[in-house]
Amino acid sequence: MEVPLLKQGDFLIATIQAALTDADLLQLRTALVQQVVRFRSRGVIVDVTSLDVMDSFASRTLREVAQMIRLRGAETVIVGIQPDVAFAMVQLGLKLEDVTTALDLEEGLAHLSRRSTNGA
């Protein structure tokens, strides 16, 4: 299932709407990096509000997305992790280290805007 990517000025927004298979996740990773290059985006938001499960593969793939996009000089913010999902993740030791997280889309965009203005 392909995740729709939306362009919002300098930023790309990917909203995950349902559970993704491993193949879908890898496809998303590829698509995000390609689009960042194409649009010269400065930030990416991945919205996982609709996910009620986050397994180790998804967690690792999101970290890889952030690392790849950083190599293009852009920042990734994961938003919308639900309380239950966050709880389960820390219990499993899936910490999403070095990945910026924010409460929701609004917060994520605010963060990216601040970083852009500061010339980060």
């Binding site: 309380p83 966050a86 910490k95 409460l103």
Partner: protein, 323 residues
């Protein structure tokens, strides 16, 4: 005792008894056949015996009930209740008891037991008292049966065959009903206590305070975390100050829970500042090897709130009174 085989059905289960007589092949056939005749003889009268038994209990209701109430007081049970109350409850229990014997169904008794428990538990009645009075009633009724049928031992035997399993089942039902009600109340109270003791308080826009007081065990730590994460989402908090001044001690497991809470909060975009660590807890945290770079700590609550305000871009400026 025939407790297991007869307890699940009404005692008038003639079909079940008759099917036993069909086992008639093999060397044991004669023996089985003989006992089959014996059971067939007494199987028909079982329901009749039961009716006779119930009638006896109803006819002698007044004096048996009085004797029971007397023995309850003698045994110093139900001291939390007055004599009139004991008599009133004794009447209900007696009638329910006899009805359960008569119908062989226990739902009404179960419902009554729970209802009774709900009323008497707040009065401080203990489990041993409830079990005690039911067993006393069992004894009072059994003895009245002995007295009545003492001249006909065979009949007494058969009456007891009818009485014993049902009486056991009744005692069981009442005791279990009582204990279940107690457990339900305890669970409710525990839940209420837990909710009360971990409030998540918003003191500024985007700033939450979680003051923890008392003993934290794994279950409370977990409940705390869930409550905090929900609070972060609801209040859209960006900073949380967890104050543990009121926590005397923490073991490694709970310290780990605290670290997990910090990490989970970060996943929701909130920064956590922990304040009020006692020397003992500071030692525990260092001993379990927590990466302190991940734990944001400040000495006391005041310092914690000040740092939170800085993080949020607040500045506290004193009012200058214009004369």
């Amino acid at each position: 005792m025939l407790f297991i085989s007869l307890s699940m059905h009404t005692l008038d289960d003639q079909t079940g008894v008759k099917s036993m007589t069909r086992i008639d092949s093999g060397p044991e056939s004669t023996q089985i056949h003989d006992s089959a005749i014996a059971t067939e003889e007494s199987s028909r009268p079982v329901s009749v015996l039961l009716r006779e038994l119930v009638a006896h209990l109803r006819d002698n209701r007044t004096q048996l009930r009085e004797e029971w109430a007397r023995r309850i007081t003698e045994a110093k049970l139900l001291t939390a209740m007055t004599k009139d109350e004991i008599f009133a409850e004794a009447t209900s229990v007696y009638d329910n008891y006899v009805e359960a014997l008569e119908t062989g169904t226990f739902e009404a008794l179960q419902a009554y037991a729970r209802n009774l428990s709900e009323r008497i538990i707040p009065r401080g009645v203990e489990t041993d008292e409830v079990v005690g009075i039911v067993l006393l009633l069992r004894d009072v009724l059994a003895r009245s049966l002995f007295a009545k049928y003492q001249t006909d031992f065979t009949k007494l035997n058969r009456i007891l065959d009818a009485y014993e399993p049902a009486a056991n089942r009744i005692a069981n039902t009442v005791a279990v009903g009582f204990v279940q009600e107690r457990e339900r109340i305890i669970r409710e109270q525990q839940e209420a206590i837990r909710e009360l003791s971990t409030p998540v308080l918003q003191v500024r826009e985007r700033l939450l305070i979680l003051p923890i007081i008392g003993v934290i065990d794994s279950q409370r730590a977990r409940q705390l975390t869930e409550q905090l994460l929900r609070g972060i989402r609801t209040n859209r908090a960006k900073v949380v100050v967890i104050d543990i001044t009121g926590v005397a001690a923490m073991d490694a497991t709970v310290a780990n829970h605290l670290v997990q809470t910090v990490e989970a909060s970060r996943l929701l975009g909130a920064t956590v500042i922990v304040t009020g660590l006692s020397p003992e807890i500071a030692q525990t945290i260092v001993n379990i090897g927590v990466d302190l770079g991940k734990m944001n700590t400040v000495g006391d609550l005041q310092g914690g709130i000040e740092q939170a305000e800085r993080l949020l871009g607040y500045k506290v400026v004193p009012f200058v009174e214009t004369p």
